[in-house]
Amino acid sequence: MAKITLSNLRHSYLPNPTGPADYALKEIDLDWNDGGAYALLGPSGCGKSTLLNIISGLLTPSDGRILFDDKDVTDLPPDQRNIAQVFQFPVIYDTMTVRENLAFPLRNRGVNEAKITERVAEIAAMLEVEDMLDTRAAHLSPDNKQKISMGRGLVRDDVNVVMFDEPLTVIDPHLKWKLRSKLKELHQRVRATMIYVTHDQTEALTFADQVVVMQEGEIVQIGTPVELFERPQHTFVGHFIGSPGMNILPALVEGGQVMFNGQAVSLEGKVTGSGGVTQLGIRPEFVSLSNAGIPARVRKVSDVGRHAVVETMVGETAVKAVIEGNLPEQGTEVHLAFQQNQTRLYRDGWIATEVVS
């Protein structure tokens, strides 16, 4: 178990990167505490797998250092870093039995047989795979294969960090939920530092204590699931997390007033900075229909069960609202109210309002 520090990390797949556009990872500074459950969340191609491979040692970064408990491991190969990684597609050794698969990392390190037997039994019990220990691993279902590849990571008691690279991709939907809670449970039992890479917000938010949101090789925000949902630091986070995502609306700052479509809107707090492109951000959950407020026309109503998503047009801009109870008819004129303490201003994508505490 270890604390992981990434310092001034940059990586480019090109031999001679020139501009920032050549970097798959731009300037990453990060501390991960020992025993934490972290998620790296971002769309495909945002650099999260690159970052993961750098931590595991499969890639050497162009610049910067990686420290495990203040020990520099940047130049160490994967097998000397004491890490474990679970891949998108389950990696198992087809010709071996489940037992041999679980024992493999220990055998390679010359651990004595008594210890191996003990550890394998322990991990098998934890993963609930005792009854399949003597079956050939090739015959397992995808979710069990994925459990075994997890087990190969957990079987070593000296693991610094266990990393998951979108591990539920090939798992059937009804088993995803089961495996996800198993993961959470495992984390609580072994207390190893775990890093979970995904583009699925539900997976990230349910697994992690801390979520790192990435976009185009940069970290946009680090926070608890609640923080990410309630106060996105960047419009990308607002949009990427939540279903539907945050409404990002064009806004003008005129004489201390923030105007949206000609109407003054009150914000959560004082506006900071000046210039740039300004936008309003408000989650659909905090937009409500009222008697007075911003006039809008209902374009579409989709009932998703517990609530409905009402899509309205304010001038040329679409504004979504999550509504429970009475639903407006399509095409009717309504008025929208924005909950003040959830209405924020973003300048060039980054948050530009202060919280009143």
Binding site: L58, Q88, Y93, D94, T95, M96, P105, G153
Partner: protein, 287 residues
């Protein structure tokens, strides 16, 4: 209610006729010859299984069969490991991949009799490049037209030159289909290169290797043209493999009955050994 009609037979009929015309009837002709004796004039006498008995008891057949198994055994023992080693050392991506693949494929594109002639000229003592080099530069007494050992070395190397590429290409196809994650996981698990080969590469190559072994077995067991062009079965009978011997009996001596019986035995052995290989190599999958 299931309605039954016989219309399906009409769809199978053309294929049935074609197979009958090009396979069943010729084979049955051979079967026909194998149980009869003729002295010409299209007059045949029933002979029963005499020809089979004669062939199976003949020392000439035993010797040819022995040479055949030795040849095929050497071919498999050299080409399969060599093919795997070459495939493992080929690049997986980049500029050299197509270069390697095309170079590998070249020998296979050359017709059998051309390969035989090429190697004949190449290895002739004194005038062939290799023959000259061995005798006059290295001073090794090498003459495939006179010495059985030289002849054997030459036909084996010729086949290795001609057909190892097939094993290489099949193994390579198996290797490139292994996702990177396997190698990464093996690195993390601390597996040695040998273990990577034993537990990742070899199992993933198994299907294509089964095909490679079967193809190389059948082709080398039935080989005719190349050794025939190169040595004509000589010196003496030292490189007279089964097919060469068969042609000698059938067309040289015109002993149709024994030749037919020998063909059927030959066919049965090829089939049996192929079945054995296939069963042994796939038995793990069935468990």
């Amino acid at each position: 209610m299931k309605t039954e009609n016989q219309r399906a037979w009409f769809f199978v009929l053309p294929v049935l006729l074609l197979v009958a015309f090009n396979a069943l009837i010729p084979i049955m002709t051979v079967v026909n010859y194998s149980v009869q004796e003729t002295f010409g004039n299209n007059v045949f006498f029933w002979q029963g299984l005499d020809w089979f008995e004669q062939i199976l008891r003949s020392e000439r057949f035993h010797a040819a069969l022995g040479r055949q198994f030795m040849f095929t055994g050497l071919i498999l023992a050299i080409e399969i490991p060599l093919g795997i080693i070459v495939a493992l050392s080929m690049p997986r991506k980049g500029f050299w991949v197509p270069v390697c693949l095309v170079t590998m494929a070249l020998p296979m594109l050359i017709p059998w009799n051309v390969v035989g002639s090429m190697w004949n000229i190449f290895t002739l003592p004194n005038i062939g490049l290799l023959g000259y080099f061995m005798n006059d530069v290295l001073g090794i007494n090498y003459d495939m037209t006179q010495q059985p050992v030289s002849a054997w070395v030459t036909i084996v190397i010729m086949d290795v030159w001609h057909w190892t590429s097939l094993v290489v290409l099949l193994s390579y196809a198996g290797l490139v289909s292994i996702p990177d994650a396997y190698y990464q996981a093996a690195k993390i698990d601390g597996a040695s290169p040998w273990k990577v080969f034993r537990y990742i590469q070899l199992p993933k190559m198994k299907t294509v290797l089964t095909i490679a072994v079967l193809l190389r077995f059948m082709d080398s067991f039935n080989i005719y043209t190349e050794p025939f062009v190169l040595t004509g079965g000589g010196p003496g009978n030292s490189t007279t493999l089964l097919s060469i011997d068969l042609v000698k009996i059938a067309l040289g001596q015109f002993d149709l009955g024994p030749a037919a019986a020998m063909s059927l035995i030959y066919f049965a052995i090829t089939l049996l050994v192929s079945w054995l290989f296939y069963t042994l190599m796939t038995k793990d999958d069935a468990q």
